[in-house]
Amino acid sequence: MSIPISYYLVLSAVLFGLGVVAFVFKRNIITIFMSIELMLNAVNLAFVAFARAHNQLDGLVFVFFVIVVAAAEAAVGLAIIIMLAQNRQSLNVERVNQLKF
């Protein structure tokens, strides 16, 4: 007996929702960045589940590309965070409000 695909999709949706909640509620910019990674992971789970359901490998290739893009994003994003911390002495996003209307 195999596990229904819908279980994986519900888990993926719950993880994505928790990622959105963390993105909105957290105030530390590193934690906000980590919640983006959580959302990417949730989407990856849905990709793998659908690839399995349709018995095609394209979804797995997309997961591979998503992981590559996440790695590049982490490198640049963390460099920006370090710059921000050096210039502002704080990681709170409420203090970074120059572009806020």
Binding site: R52, V61, A71
Partner: protein, 169 residues
Amino acid sequence: MSIPLILFIVCALLAIGGAVALILAREPIHSALALILVMMSLAVLYLLLGSPFIAAVQILVYAGAIMVLFVFVIMLLNEGVEERTNFSRLAKYVGLPLGFFLLLEFGHWLAHSPAGAVIANGAGASGQAADTAKLSEQLFRQYLFPFEATSILILIAILGALVLARKEE
């Protein structure tokens, strides 16, 4: 209950617990450790879905490389307990009910629409395990150009990080 189902439930609960811990933790390093827990349990789920290559990449690249980078930056910046600020009333009284409605709508869609029924039946869930050899063949034949494009993307990311980290004269 079969063993895969038990394994799925344990890993799903670990993943959700890790995500909740990420939200509730006050210190960034605790959030990072919770996120590593989520990624590890997702790797087990990928094994359950029959794709060992993705599981290995998940542990090597995500839990290994990316999270080590996060932990390194957290240690480097040495930021303590997160400050809490008051949220706007609009978010509390409009945003939370709307989010709840979205969740209900998703559940309704999954339960009643034809597409949701096809998904919920899990008809294709008995597909064969994704062979790593087949996956690599697809990656290096059909998706060769995007694969090469990612190498340029990584190069640009390295250059961007270097430019950002460089000291201003």
